[in-house]
């Protein structure tokens, strides 16, 4: 993501789990991306644990889930339905990307930077909440079945 061009300063903080240590002074967080590896149940459990430490205000468009590893079906330990349900429970968008593939990485990075710009308020006329409702409306009637 850092390779992408961006008019403002882009900082990425990687963490294995939340909560982040509170002793450090850090800039405002605009977007949290939870990466779930479909090959590992531990990854899902970790994500679920970390979600509890996120302040409710973030769920208004500043949280997003990224599921990786769906390409290698034979290695999947988690049913895709499980992450879809998780994203639905937290009312946040779910993106799929095989992070091991270079091309997909670049595309996803572009998309995330764009989302980040909107969440940080750098795109005039679009806020994080607008983006969330836009994404939600294209998901269709299927989610009501859940």
């Amino acid at each position: 993501m850092l390779k992408e061009d961006c008019t403002s300063e882009l900082k990425v903080h990687l963490a294995k789990s939340l909560p982040l240590p509170s002793s450090v002074n850090r800039p405002r967080i605009d977007l949290i991306v939870f990466v779930v590896n479909l090959h590992s149940k531990y990854s899902l459990q970790n994500t679920e644990e970390s979600l509890r430490h996120v302040d409710a205000s973030f769920f208004l468009g500043k949280v997003c889930f990224l599921a990786t590893g769906a390409g290698r079906e034979s290695h999947c330990s988690i049913h895709r339905h499980t992450v879809v349900k998780l994203a639905h429970t937290y009312q946040s968008p779910l993106l799929y990307c095989d992070l091991e593939v270079e091309g997909f990485q670049a595309t996803m990075a572009q998309r995330l930077v764009r989302m980040l710009q909107m969440c940080a308020g750098h795109v005039p006329g679009v806020s994080a909440l607008n983006l969330l409702s836009l994404l939600r409306s294209s998901e269709g009637p299927s989610l009501e079945d859940m």
Partner: protein, 346 residues
Amino acid sequence: MDSYDASESTPRQSTSLRPEDYFIGATFLQKRLESVRKQTSFIPTPPRRKIPHCSQLQEDVDPQKVAFLLHKQWTLYSLTPLYKFSYSNLKEYSRLLNAFIVAEKQKGLAVEVGEDFNVKVIFSTVLGIKGTQRDPEAFLVQILSKSQLPSENREGKVLWTGWFCCIFGDSLLETVSEDFTCLPLFLANGAESNTAIIGTWFQKTFDCYFSPLAINAFNLSWMAAMWTACKMDHYVATTEFLWSVPCSPQSLDISYAIHPEDAKALWDSVHKTPGEVTQEEVDLFMDCLYSHFHRHFKIHLSATRLVRVSTSVASAHTDGKIKILCHKYLIGVLAYLTELAIFQIE
């Protein structure tokens, strides 16, 4: 998989994706097929599945007749429906396949030192291996070596065995026309070269397609739970799991063996609804094993990949290898494998 559409950030299940639902319910699968055809997105409800009970087996499965299917390691393939296959032409097929094999071997494609070119191919049906009356009969192909000396027994040594079956294949049977015979599960035991030759002949003759059936960790944990749930009079093998840890120089394998009665006791404590297995129960069962292991060894097994499951009923490996040990639950095991095969085809 073309699910990574750059212009959309929401998951849209198109027909090229395979919506994976791991549950029995012919009507439910029908609904799913309908919706897939209508190109609407569809999220499956939490899976439930029936435990293969003894009573669900057909009465005419003779333990003697199916004994040759047990205790052998079978490699799994999924097979698309066969076009214009007829059970009355089995002798004809034997002859044609025999000629084909001899021709292929003489071409030098599969020559091994000391191999006997006198082979005999036998097609035969195996009665009783089906789930419902609608399922087509299972049939068997065997390659036997013809003995050189007339004084020896006429029955040669079995060199290669392959059999085709379909258990509870209603969802597939409904979608194909009369000319097709649906036998989506193919199991092979014997030399890989023979499997390849037979596969080529079937593909050319019946316009079908074989593809190796891999079993992912998710399905293996379902199998572990279902087979542990089966009631057994006596246990012939310990319950064993094998995980593969992905690490850079070489992968590490972790093997975890439990006494089968302990595994059954654990399952009984987790199991709530009689006659059904749910996703939550399977997850809880596996989580108990993981947390027990973590407590002792401080290793998170859930971060590794389940590669092999071995119980007294059957054992399965992620590469698509299966060995069935118990004739009572043969149909149950095959039913689940048939389902996986059908999903791979669709």
